[in-house]
Amino acid sequence: MSEPLTPEAPAAPPPVLGYLRDREVHPPLDYPGYRSTALRHPRRRLKVLPHLLTEVTGPLLGEDRIGELDNDLTRQHDGEPQGQRIIVHGQVRDGDGAPVPHTLIEIWQANAGGRYRHTGDNWPSPLDPNFTGVGRTLTDDQGRYRFTTIRPGAYPWRNHDNAWRPAHIHFSLFGRAFTQRLVTQMYFPGDPLFFQDPMWNSIPDPDARERLVARFDYGSTEEEWALAYEWDIVLRGRESTVFEDEIALEDDDE
């Protein structure tokens, strides 16, 4: 257990191993194609934050966050929801290929008709009394996760003329460190709406966009029950050595 605390300031510890920086993988915060970014992005240049203890640690949330039916979105009501039943499964790894075990995954999505159970979603597509569209699970000791749900529908929005979001499931992940936190969306293969979707197009590298697309997984379908999709998620990996020049604080150049 821990040593008694002493009032003297401890000697400076050695540097901690940080996480690989991957900003170029992610969409920019200022992306005119997605109009709502206009007033919701910082104009000041982001300041490089070295990865210190607060950044390489994070909440390790456990079973107490999970209810029994949280990983099966088709069984959360008295009746069954409408739509195509699907299994969505995969593995969470870090950039070094190591599984990320026992980490919380949260998902939310529209129903089969593309309607969210949210007071702000009022487009003319019905709610499903048997579908909430919210799930949670923990990855197992191999970083694997599995949800049963309904394939979500596409839905219109007002970003541009005749704008439609491709069908997607929102995913939220913690990893093992504040630095690894990721919120993203999983898409379905061959969606014809990608071309006009600013969320999709905001990702600079076309190869990186494809990493958001699940693979149809015939081998994991369940006969006379559910189709299956496999989607692996890669969180940031760790630096292999401490790079003194990268972790030194740069002078402010505003």
Partner: protein
Amino acid sequence: MTAPTTPSQTVGPYLHIGLPWPDGPFAAAEGSPGGVWIRGVLTDGAGAPIGDGLVETWQADPDGRFDHPDDPRGAVARPGFRGFGRCPTDAEGRFAVYTLKPGPVPSHLGLQAPHIDVSVFARGMLNRTVTRIYFPDEPEANAADPVLGSIASEAARATLVAEPAEDGYRFDIRLQGEGETVFFNI
């Protein structure tokens, strides 16, 4: 060989069905001795409140330790202390997290003043933004803090320091424009 990471996407307008937890705002158990509320308002570049955002916080305990394998010192047993808070913003852009003030956190760059790491998510944000909360009653520690010290502008530094409030602290987050909060490339 490192594998490329999965890109971020926005939380979108409907995060409120999926992410809030009933106990989300409680980084420390309600009624903990020394507990404080950190309250603030999230605003956009027009100064308008952001009613569909989410604020998350992560911090050391009052001894400056983390209950995590990467903190070699280990945590001091502290029932009810999670160190992680999560609060959706309401229609007026308000959020609040109940917690214990963290202790100073050692680093190879020098002792860090008590601070809380913050993630901000919202519709219109394709990725989270990250900032830090520092405390107004720590002027000496703040002056010696290596991260604050790397920000040349005093006005910019001041955006990271909370204000005293009746039941804790006030920390507003301005995404853009007048008084824009300093955000970090993490």
